[in-house]
Amino acid sequence: MPPDAGRAAEQVARQSYGKLIAFLAARSRDVPAAEDALSEALAAALRVWPERGVPDNPEAWLMVAARRNLMQAARHRTVQANAQATISLAFEEAEERMNEAGKSVFPDERLKLLFACTHPVIDRSVHTALMLQTVLGIEARTIARSFVVSPEAMSQRLVRAKVKIREAGVPFAVPSGAALSGRLAAVLSAIYAAYGLGWDGLDGEEERHSLAGEAIWLGRALLTVLPDEPEAIGLLSLMLHCEARRSARRDGNGRYVPLDEQDTATWNAIMITEADVLLRKAGSFDRFGPFQCQAAIQSVHAARRFSGATDWQALTTLYAALVTMKPTLGARVGQAAVIGRAVSAAAGLERIDTLDPRDVAAYQPYWAVRAFLLANAGDDIAAADAYMTAIGLSDSPAVRNFLASRLEQVRQASPG
């Protein structure tokens, strides 16, 4: 079997699976029961499709297989009785829709599932994991690895969250009107967190890299249903900008390359162009928000491939806006870094000193930026000290080695 066939089958299977889970769960409100009915079918599809080819109507194939499993489960009573009835009805409804005048279009209700997974009654820390598992059908084991937790702990968290969806009667619906923007923020954050997991998994972690792709795919899926939400457009623009520079973050020897030292020729120009087009489109709605702002920041960095220089002044303005809208630690550290470039290292240090020491004690980017600013301000001894802390807080060998070389530079500057 060619590996491509396997991957193609997996992608189709997973997209169909997500659609079917969403369809069944939206009716039964019982995610675990819907998963029980479908997971065996998915496993069968991944065995059979790569060899025999993907069927013309993958959803119908999965549904027939899932229905058979449900009947078997009914005999073994592994699915709760009330869920069984609802899911049986949902299967019938789905079949009817598929048989309507030979139409093989299956309603895509994954978005409802996205909103259910990120509902305020579900603990925020599980949103992303729950979304990855239920909407994309990614295994708990893979998700656990990305989150650095044990597979058992991750499974427990997911089970608890799904029970809560059922018990609390979380609606499977896309909110409308005023409620949408608040709820959409949680969906966007969960998708961006999934992208972040993939972004961090750079050193030979194929699985995590694919999470970045999945997140981008989710961002696109979101736009097909909500085409007029500027923040959703901004999120996709942001992810594409980051993705365009993914491979540039390591040189041929696997060494870390910081953004402003990257060779712009290694960036993906097609992705950057799409990202910029999206950003302009988002701007046309005249409703600025944090994701558009972060995309704009990346867009300024990307412009270096034409101008040969980074517009630090523009970045200072954008970071000021970002910190006003969403004063996260990351945003505030980023702001100090660009002020350090646009104004002076001393001004950057003044800004970074406004952060509460308790908040940043174990926050690696703070120490890396602080060390960089101190080195630029000529305070080599304090810079070396901050570099040490930054190295100690890094979990990537490539980043550690990069910071160690910077540390070496400041040590040589101050033989002490």
């Binding site: 650095v148 937790v149 702990a153 004690a361 174990a362 120490w367 040490m388 802390t389 930054a390 190295i391 100690g392 807080l393 890094s394 979990d395 060998p397 550690r400 160690a404 540390l407």
Partner: protein
């Protein structure tokens, strides 16, 4: 919650202890975890061949040099830390600068 970070190193990690780059990585980790204010106790240990094993044999004791040579990774050191949850403990475990041949075990402290 209190957790032990049990750090096991491979023979090549023990061999690299004299290497300034490896040592610097450890110094950095020790500094960072110290500044975080979560360390209750901890120590690095000398290499396994310096160990002595004492076993009970009925009424007597059997004393032997060093640990068993066939083990791929040996205890290199440990920390006892106080953090809000297992996730934070695991975060500190991922920062330990051992090679990919070593490991860090995170285990909750026994509550008496």
């Amino acid at each position: 919650m209190q957790y032990a970070l049990i750090i096991r190193e491979a023979p090549e990690d023990f061999a690299r202890r004299g290497d300034p780059v490896y040592r610097d990585g450890w110094m950095a980790y020790i500094k960072a975890i110290g500044q975080a204010g979560i360390v209750i106790a901890g120590a690095g240990l000398t290499s396994p061949e310096t160990g002595t094993i004492v076993r009970r044999k009925g009424e007597d004791h059997d004393v032997q040099d060093g640990p068993y040579p066939e083990v791929k990774e040996q205890l290199g050191g440990f920390y006892l830390i106080e953090v809000p949850d297992i996730d934070t403990a695991l975060e500190w475990a991922t920062r330990v600068p051992i090679s990919d041949k070593g490991s860090v075990e995170v285990r909750p402290r026994l509550q008496m």
